[in-house]
Structure formats: C-alpha cells, structure tokens
Symmetry: C2
Subunit: 256 residues, 2 copies
DNA sequence: CCATCTTTGTGCACGCGTTCACAAAGACAT
DNA sequence: ATGTCTTTGTGAACGCGTGCACAAAGATGG
C-alpha cells in the first residue's frame, strides 16, 4: 500500500524484521497482564502460548532486541516490558489526531487501549460544521479548516483517517503537508503518499471477504467428503462450468 | 488467534496462496470502481497501480485463478469482477452477527461496505439488557441470552466480536458451540478456538504501536544525520526528506 | 566442585512469496 | 499472410520468515 510507486524490498528497520515488530505489541500485552498479576519471570514457552505464537519464534524475536533472558529461568517480566516499550517508542507521548468523527471515529476516540500505551488523542476533526464543538469522548470536535493549525501546535506526527472513502486522499494530503508522517487509514481507499510517510491500512470489509473465502472453502470440502447423500439438487445440471473454472472447480454452494 | 493446536501448515487453500487471497478483495474494489465507470478492459499495469501493488504480482495472482486475460489487450473488467467475486464466495449471501454493540459494534453495523458485498447483518447482540430492543442501524439489538437461537435460525457461520476484551473468549466459545466457524475479532484478546474454526484479528492499538515504532525510528535517524544542531521536540518532525520509509507490509491482522 | 536439569539463544534447512525477465499469444495493420 | 506491437502468463532466482533441534549457559542440589 502506500505510494503509487514501488517500494523497497521489505526493509528491515534497524535490523529488526518487520514481522517481529508486528508481534512485539502482542508480547507486550501478554507481559503487561503478567505484570499486573505480579508474576516475576516467565519462560518463553509460557509467554508464547499467552501470545498465541510458537516459542522458538518468540525467542528469536527477542534475540533481535538483545539477550534479556536467563537460561534455566526465563525472562524478567518487568524488564522485558520496559525493553519492548522502549523499542516500540511507547515510553514517549504520541499525540494523535482522528479525522472523521462518525461511528468509527467516535469508537476510536473512546477506545481505552490508546491512552494506556502512550497515545494521546490530541484532537478530533470533522468536516461537518454541525459537529464542531460537540464533545466526543470528552474532547471537543474541531473543524477540518483548522487541521493544519492543530497539527502544528500539537506537534502531531500520527494521524488516523476514519472519513468516508471519497475524502480520504484529500485529508491524507493535508495531513502529510502539515507534517504528519504516519497514517492509520480506515477508509476503503488506496492512499498515495510521498516517500518517507508510513501508511497502515485497516479494512473491515476486506477481512470479512477473506473469512468468506475460507468459509466457502470449508463448505465445499465438507460437501465433497460427504457420502453421496442428497446434497442439494440430485440430478444436477449437465457439465456446467463450460470453459472457465480452473480444473477441479467446485461451484459455490451454501452451507447452513 | 487460535491456539489449541497449530493449524494446517500454512495451508494453501485449494492451490491459492494466502497472500493472494488477501489481495483479491483489493483487486475487486478497484475493478468495481472501473466497472462503475463503464471501463471495458484494463491492463495489469493499470489495475496494479489502482490497487497499489506490483503488476507482476497481480498477474501471478490472477494466474492462480486461471487465465482470464487477453494478451495484447488486458482483462475484461466485468468478467474479472465476476470471477473474483465467485472465488471469494461473494456471490452468495453471508449472514453475520455482531456481538457487542458499543461504539465499534455500531460503527460496523452502519458500515456500508458490507451489504454491497454479500454480507448481511443478521443480528446485533449485546449483553447489556438496557440495550435490548434498541434500534441500531435499523436493526433491533437482541440479548446475548438468545445467541444460540439467533445463530441457529439464521444459519449464521460468521461472527464479529466487538466486546470488551474480558468477554471475548466467552462469547467466542458460545459462537463456536452454536455453529459459527469464522470469527472476526476486534477485542484485544488472543482467542482459543478448536480446529477448523478461522479467526482473524483486528487490533487497533497494535497498528498504532507499529506506526510508533517506525515513527521513532525515523526521528532517531533524522537526529543522527542532522548536524549537532538542537533538534527540538522529538515528536514534532519538520524536515521532510527523501528518506525511505519501511514498506514491507506485514499486517497485524492474522489468519488463524 | 561436579552432576544434573532447565531454558535460552541460534545455526540451519525449508517453504512461501516476490520480483525479474522473457517467450508465447493474440490484436491490428498492411 | 505476414510482420509488428502490446500485454499476458510463467520459469527461475532470490530473500524473508518459520520451525527444528541442539549446544551453551546458568540454576540447583549433593
């Protein structure tokens, strides 16, 4: 995603593989839970199951950060929490703006998981004038006209876009021009940004479509395994699928 | 993310690589846009830029579905829309339940991108009795006590969890027991499910943490390259420059 | 101090996904 | 028909991520 031009070959940021970075927050959450239960140390095996990953993978991930474990014992929970937090940059304050205060924007504004991890909602911005001044999650919504000023005075470098698809690119451009260098995009649009700006995309409908694919596949498999019971229409159309259908193609069939 | 035991070995569902499946919805969206503009055919190069990917990758992706293009011309838009829709199982109706009608649940219920792609919100479910009967997105919220009945009578196989983290596993268990085999989880929890159930996770705070990591890295690099000038506030970046942003794109959204 | 036991850290092999680069296929003009 | 031009489809190479399996490191007990 991101730029319209092609990207570099899966950059390894400072030696830490992207895949590992993506898992660090997962470990952090599991560790935080342990910390709250005052558990002093944890083995790679335990932590791995808590985070839902393979223990070898976890150890390798940690090895990129340095050697923070003790053989025969495990990892010191508090120390690891600190190290991962530091690595992810969560020891500092990240002011964030949310643009587009519909249901989703409001949901994010209310989401507790942010504040607890160094993210502070600095401002809520919407294009609808009738929203301006309204309180959402205890914060007054501001008008999009003031976007640049807001970014500037708050030193915001991370922006969240929850506008309709049509407005996203335009908002993105303004955010970037105002100095934002990281964008979390919830709009169903491919954003084009200049070099040096990071974009991450969360697309609700895409996730569902991927699930549907697997769901369909499961249904088809089940049907195929089933004995010659009356599976829907018995007689069956003659050789359907005239030309297309990559070979062993099982047409769509609904389960449930 | 499922834990029970590990899942099929990164299964290539029916020969189509996971990575490709994850991109199909992206292509579909771009194609739909073209279709609405009555564009008859499109080349791999054009479609690739519209979808934000590499053209070679796109062609290879399509090659898994079969040979639907015409050399020297490109792909027939309408035909491709149909083929991908069919492949993803979007030609059929998928009833979906959303459990946990807070801000996020409401946002999803209102999200237009669902209905247009074969997904139908069959029911909204919440544990709070005072919510029961309330209309959200034109649908009456039902109580979680009736969860099993709702799943059963509507033939639901896909569930969306937007509850607080604490309730997620419990809800998940009930959904699965009632017959749901695909779950989209927005709660910040690692779900454990039996074999054969797919879970995809969307974690808002994880996405932000990944952005923070890269943001911090960019700031650090800039600082390192900068002459010993006072670099002001760490967060408020200023000097835009043609550096490289990481783009190896590993979504925090994981397959089960 | 030595033996044993636990758990980390990592070398290695394997497989998936990406990308390049090009031959084959078809369109189109002459 | 024949030649030229465009664009697909794919063989092959490469790089990243994963997981196994084990040696090294430290804890613990006698």
């Amino acid at each position: 995603m991101a730029t319209g031009r092609n990207h570099r070959p899966a950059t390894r940021s400072r030696g830490i593989p992207e895949a590992t970075v993506a898992r660090l927050p997962l470990y952090l959450r599991a560790l935080t839970a342990l910390s709250e239960r005052s558990v002093p140390t944890v083995s790679s095996e335990e932590l791995a199951t808590a985070a839902g990953v393979n223990s070898a993978k976890l150890r390798k991930d940690f090895s990129y950060l340095g050697s923070y474990g003790t053989r025969g014992v495990g990892y010191d929970v508090e120390y690891l929490v600190y190290q991962i937090s530091r690595e992810l940059g969560l020891t500092q304050d990240w002011p964030v703006v949310i643009v587009g205060i519909g249901n989703l924007g409001a949901a994010l504004a209310n989401y507790g998981g942010f504040a607890s991890r160094g993210f502070r909602v600095a401002a809520l911005i919407d294009a609808d004038s009738s929203m301006t001044g309204k309180q959402v999650a205890g914060i007054a919504v501001q008008h999009v006209d003031d976007l640049e000023t807001i970014i500037d005075t708050n030193g915001v470098s991370i922006g969240v876009i929850t506008t309709p698809g049509g407005a996203a690119q335009q908002v993105c451009d303004r955010l970037v021009a105002a100095g934002v260098t990281s964008i979390l995009n919830f709009a169903p649009t491919v954003l084009t940004v200049p070099e040096g700006v990071d974009v991450r995309k969360v697309d609700l409908s895409i996730e569902l479509q991927i699930l549907a694919f697997h769901e369909q596949r499961k249904a088809a498999e089940e049907l195929a395994q089933e004995p010659p019971s009356a599976a829907g229409l018995p007689a069956a159309s003659e050789g359907r699928r005239g030309d297309q259908g990559p070979d062993g193609d099982i047409p769509a069939v609904m389960p449930a």
